[in-house]
Assembly symmetry: C2
Homo-oligomer: 311 residues x 2
Amino acid sequence: MDEFELIRRYFDRANTRADVVVGIGDDGAVVVPTPAMQQVSVIDTMVEGVHFPQHFNPADVGYRAVAVNLSDIAAMGATPRWMTLALSMPVADAEWLALFAEGLHTAAAEFDVALIGGDTTRAPVTVVTVQVSGEVRHGTALLRSGAKAGDTIYVTGTLGDSAAGLQGLEAGRPVKELLSRYARPSARVNYGRSLIGHASAAIDISDGLYGDLSKLLAASGVGAELDLDALPISRSLAEHFDAADCRSFALTGGDDYELCFTAPGRLPDPGILTVTAIGKVTEARDIVCTENGRPVPFSDSGYAHFKSAGA
Amino acid sequence: MDEFELIRRYFDRANTRADVVVGIGDDGAVVVPTPAMQQVSVIDTMVEGVHFPQHFNPADVGYRAVAVNLSDIAAMGATPRWMTLALSMPVADAEWLALFAEGLHTAAAEFDVALIGGDTTRAPVTVVTVQVSGEVRHGTALLRSGAKAGDTIYVTGTLGDSAAGLQGLEAGRPVKELLSRYARPSARVNYGRSLIGHASAAIDISDGLYGDLSKLLAASGVGAELDLDALPISRSLAEHFDAADCRSFALTGGDDYELCFTAPGRLPDPGILTVTAIGKVTEARDIVCTENGRPVPFSDSGYAHFKSAGA
């Protein structure tokens, strides 16, 4: 089977969006942007053995590849519309592809995103790149740079589950509820969209709360007081790890795909989603962590892909 | 150096396009689509050792990664606007990155395309994925599916140089003029755009004329008579290879990034670009090759990435 048949067999499904004029199968896809909307574009790569374990469930790889991009779309307050896929792998494994496509289409269908094009190539290792385009009303996109001293800092959901789930898997003691947060992250698209007009700045948590909050603060030219006692820890995480490990997973574990945002006033109704105030934006350009109301030392730079490369 | 510094240092240049509201550095990029235009999206991956030789000039890798995508944009008759980059590599090699970025920005500047976002990750092998968005007036995009019996079949430029150039390099006898066609393909963006209203169907030649013409014909539900004597062969190719090899490179070599298109009537002025009539569209659903006006046997399926995978 050659790559063209592959693409058709696994990825070319009927378009569900009326704004897709030409989907998979031509030199390019053609879509109709919504009038008066700005367009948001995100792209994210996952490499086997680096961003997900070898022999990981292909359906989860497919789901995750879409979800991590939708999380970026959510952090911009945008509505996802269309996506393209670049998939490289050593051999055209039909079973792997069928499962991967199933997971990919499941995530896409949940958020009404159309797969409009792609490229399938051979490579020594499996590399999945997904690019998603979304839309947002003119001038309303949530940026990292709008936080002001005095704003409250919030996070959605609970933190640390995903990293703990992955660690459990790698240690041969997988905990289902935690691992599912890693395998099937919940992109906070609806809540992200509702934050427009409320949040002053937003970022999604992919590298760990501490590192990603640092980026938001740096982009805004401000600092923060971060209340470590307030970090939202799931019951499941607390059951399996002691308090220090829970905090460490929550602060620096990463792969949460929750939103961290700042807001000066009231928040929109999060429905069944938990939203937790974890600190305040300050004028000083650093993060002061507090425990029982007292400053405690902390430093971390999040997960850096090239940290050990010595470059 | 971590990936975030990397991205900033090598890829984050001042935006040259006024329609880029937010570029590199936030969760997503924000751009302003032109009113009443449809959007064309293409994505293409190049893997070291598969799509370009190991230790290939990084500046050429960067240029090529953009150019092959612009060629797809050209085949749609669209105007390129914005691009995103997903770059995976084993180590953050500063020298490689500087050269790669230089080539990438050179190609982007030639066609006024803004790099608006990206993702830089670690992988055991270098994998470059570029996604380009372009625009085209409502309903005018050139598709593969519009060829009609009686239309003339054309190609731009000359064919086979690129594949011959690569073969020469791999054999240790590089021919500069041929290799430059491989290293720095000329995306036919301006001519592709001018073909709107003239061409009935178009495709870009990446896998070889025979294979790509076959795809155009299949999409249109037609066949062709292909005049092998008419294939445009460069002086440089003819100097270094005999007639049979020239023809083989031209038909199935690939990596030409020229346009193959069909048209029922007159063509727009190609300026200094050569455009050659190479055959006619027929009703029969196959390709009949002719030599000296007589049918000759030929069959080929182009370059298929997974051909040897046995899947």
